[in-house]
């Protein structure tokens, strides 16, 4: 007797996800140095203190509309302050030693941080999750202009803003969009897309670890293994200034992100046409894993989240509360878990905490309804 395969779940009609379901986060980083200062790596402690004092005055003078930033004095306080960030501040850029400072603030739905004497005299980060991607750009521009009223930036018309690394000369701006691209990834199309983007000045990298040697973002914890989750960071490779302005950098990154969203939606459609059973299988396995696991490494958690999100957005796996997936990418990161569930001094407790967060967030995920889609 020929075995009957398990029926595919009936796909429910759901609205085509908008770009805000694919572009999960917008992240901008801008660096400046002081005209009469010394780059942080070369500066003595006294020089750093002196420069920091001048910059602190400028930060304190920021208008109340930008929400007076809170100064972070301990590393633990940093992660508590940036818990909602998908892209935590990179460890190699962070320094809370002598002559340095870090402020965290909020302007509407945009979170920002101002670093003094980190990798540059002044570094500003602005991030927003799934909002209007023009807002963090406006906040960034506002902050740098307001601070520039009291600070003299190192600038040359023939080079742009001066940096310690000559490859970062120009606008000093890096604009990044975090995209969820399971369709392109599962169809194996990401390398080709990345090569095409690189030719026109954009980088598409794994957002969290992965096999790509050019990964960005914080490195995955060694005990948790490589992380992927079909999450990619699209960013400008060139700092610009000579041929294009900051405004144009914002616009072209946004345009490329929207173009990638269109490609992703097309890839998902083809995926569901070609291999619907495989997609349903992986979605169901992920649902079962997150609802039952006791230990969950970071990379595996991202992979399961990716399948659950794909299932919810394509109608394969209904979720009563699809918004429960939002914010999990940030919440599950090691530093954020440590800040929330202190103390977590060993990897096992970290993985246990992560598994608990996932179980609570997704306990209401329904099993796929078993109805025939095709006859065999």
């Amino acid at each position: 007797m020929k075995p009957r395969p398990k029926a595919l779940p009936k796909r429910r009609k759901v609205p085509v996800p908008g770009t805000d379901r694919i572009v999960l986060d917008s992240y901008f980083r801008l660096e400046r140095n002081l005209a009469d200062g010394v780059f942080p790596e070369q500066a003595e402690d006294e020089q750093r203190e002196e420069m920091a004092a001048a910059m602190r005055e400028a930060v304190k003078a920021l208008p109340k509309g930008m929400h007076p930033p809170r100064e972070v004095l301990r590393e633990a306080a940093l992660w508590t302050g940036v818990r909602e960030w998908c892209f935590p501040l990179e460890e190699d850029e962070m320094d809370l030693g002598a002559g340095t400072a870090l402020y965290i603030g909020r302007a509407g739905s945009v979170q920002y941080a101002i670093g003094l004497n980190q990798c540059a005299n002044l570094v500003i980060w602005a991030e927003q999750a799934r909002g209007d991607r023009e807002e963090p750009a406006l906040v960034l521009e506002g902050l740098v202009r307001l601070l520039g009223k009291r600070l003299e930036y190192a600038f040359r018309p023939d080079a742009g803003y001066l940096t310690a690394d000559t490859s970062r000369l120009g606008t000093g701006l890096a604009a990044t969009a975090l995209l969820h691209l399971p369709g392109l990834s599962l169809r194996g199309l990401v390398p080709a897309v990345a090569r095409g983007l690189e030719e026109i000045g954009f980088g598409l990298r794994h957002a969290f670890g992965g096999k790509d040697p050019h990964r960005i973002g914080p490195p995955a914890q060694s005990a948790d293994g490589p992380a992927s989750g079909n999450l990619y960071a699209l960013s400008n490779l060139h700092r610009g200034g000579r041929y294009f302005s900051e405004k144009l950098v914002f616009q072209v990154v946004r345009r490329q992100a929207e173009d990638l969203c269109a490609k992703e939606l097309e890839a998902r459609e083809r995926l569901l046409e070609d291999v619907p059973r495989e997609v349903a299988d992986r979605t169901a396995r992920s649902r079962a894993a997150v609802q039952a696991a006791y230990l969950m490494p970071f990379g595996e958690a991202l992979d399961h989240l990716s399948m659950l999100r794909l299932g919810a957005e394509t109608g394969i796996l209904p979720l009563r509360r699809p918004e429960a997936l939002d914010g999990l990418v940030a919440e599950l990161q090691p530093e954020h878990l440590k800040a929330r569930f202190a103390p977590l001094d060993v990897s096992r407790r970290l993985r246990a905490a992560r598994a608990e967060v996932l179980r609570r967030a997704l306990k209401d995920a329904d099993a796929p309804a078993e109805k025939r889609l095709d006859k065999e």
Binding site: N33, A35, Q42, R145, Y153, P157, L162, D165, T166, E246
Partner: protein, 218 residues
Amino acid sequence: MLCEKCKENEATVHLTQFLDGRIRSVHLCEGCASAMGVDVQGGTLDMGRLLEDMRRQVEEVVGGKPSRGEGALSVPPMPSACPQCGMRREEIRRTGNPGCPRCYETFRAVLLPGADELGTYQGWRPKEFPEGEAPAAPDDRTPGAGDSAAAPERAPGERPLAARMRECRRSLESKQRRLQEAVEAERYEKAAQLRDEIQALKRELESLSTGPEGDEDA
């Protein structure tokens, strides 16, 4: 392309050498190549001596030694260390990274090679550099600068001749600085071009300063 040595004949001998990771090229006519020991038939060549001869010719102008009877020029040499942060020139050449913003001014030829050929800055500008305005030091790259036919900007009460001489001196200083940078960066073609422009400016300054008295009152 004209011969880099005599600047009269067409260059027909093109020599390229790859040494210490850098490509060096020289373009000569047959006469100059033979005079410098290049066997244009057999292909034997002493590239090091050839480049040394050319470098010496340019440095005779830069270092103030007379060359072909022209007047000496004084150009300050590139400092060995940044006056602000103390970063040494050798360290910057080795790492390619400066220690402070002042290093970009001090070692411009090393840190910003080819900046002259790039366009103007398109991004946000700090308040000290509003759109359309050049930095404090005058720059002869702006349209009309150094052009003898253009009327120089005059201070109130300043005579036209004095204004033109002031403009020439300003342009001369800028070109001398750029010549030094070109030599440091081993851009000899650019250095030779600047040398010729400097010599033309000196001739103009000399003629302006020794012209008839009546011209100064015009």
